[in-house]
Subunit: 222 residues, 2 copies
């Protein structure tokens, strides 16, 4: 069985889980505490990040963006990256946007301050970091809403890797109760649409040690 | 004429310049001071990063990794990403390694402290950041040397995007005189090989305002 090494609140792990579920590829999840730097895991992925995918044939694929490009090439039946050049460029631009810009401006602040810092006993959350994260999140929700008002899905007419890259970041923050959906009705409507997909089910029943999600987290009519 | 918005010491801009030159694609360079956040540039690339490529047909492509994937698909004659799945995965893994891990552990510290911080008048370089950058650089050179000893090029038998991703980071640091090549003879030999390629010429004659490169920077027999 295909194995995905992950962490439950890692947005990059969530992205790959969502994409594999959308492509109906079965896989087994293994949590990997990357901060322990286990030699066997470093052997698989010297960058020691999650996710890492190990295929049945032994092929090891690290880095969520590399995994998604691989899945698109190896399993093209459910297509999440258009064949049209302009749409490919726009989809990949938005994947980079959410993986890098959204993560560094929003997720990194909120997720780090509220979970990892606590778990590693590095002190209480830093108020400035949280404030920056919330302020940036509002702007990003407005941008997502703008995209969703002008297109059926974020990168164009079709559901794509861009939607899963965005939804993965937001679902991790939503688990922490950190998303004020009132910032954009269009963003909320888009998120409700993607959250209803069967691919989302496994992510919505996740439970993270010591952290309970808010009541609306798994609610499809939130 | 195809236009590439760039900054001379941006490793991501350098990567795209090298890849386009290797593919013998003519282009015009335009320096973009991204910190000025010019409205016309934000229109092209809302993330306001360099590089951004604008094709003759008007297609705008932002983010160096997105640009490289695009160039590989649009101009496949000079191939820098193998068609074999295992090699594609390894090439992309190493591109992510240099773009993310090498950048955040090495380039970010040294380039930021020694150029941008000074240009933006934010005070003298932070000694701890420089120390961390140099220490991490040594480990990365050893890893590059290990790869170069086991393979003809970094990702395998053929020159690939991985070599240009690594060379782009290193060439920016080498311009600052920050690379102690004695850390790995094999890494130095690999860099000498890629530096000799015609694609490297334009990068080696670059001059950055107020910063002179060390004498060995443009020397092919360094």
């Amino acid at each position: 069985m295909r194995i995905l090494y992950h962490l439950p609140l890692s947005p990059y792990s969530r992205k790959v889980r969502l994409v594999m579920a959308e492509k109906r590829l079965p896989f087994e999840l293994r949590a990997e505490k990357v901060w322990e730097r286990q030699p066997a895991y470093l052997e698989l992925n010297p960058a020691c990040t999650v996710p890492t995918l190990v295929e049945d044939n032994g092929l090891v694929i690290a880095d969520s963006r590399v995994i998604c490009e691989y899945l698109e090439e190896a399993y093209p039946d459910v297509q999440l990256l258009s064949h049209a050049m302009g749409e490919r460029v726009e989809t990949r631009r938005l994947v980079a946007w959410f993986d890098e810009k959204f993560f560094s401006e929003v997720t990194r602040h909120l997720l780090w301050e509220k979970t990892m810092k606590q778990a590693l006993k590095l002190g209480p959350p830093d108020a400035n970091a949280l404030r920056a994260g919330y302020a940036n999140l509002k702007q990003h929700l407005i941008y997502i809403g703008w995209l969703a008002e002008h297109r059926r899905w974020l990168a164009g007419a079709n559901l794509s890797l861009a939607d899963f890259a965005a939804a993965a970041q937001l679902s991790a923050l939503d688990y922490l109760g950190d998303v004020d959906w009132s910032a954009s009705a269009a963003a909320k409507d888009w998120y409700a649409r993607i959250k209803c997909r069967p691919a989302f089910r496994a992510v919505l029943v996740d439970k993270v040690n010591g952290i309970a999600p808010p009541p609306h987290y798994a609610d499809l009519d939130f």
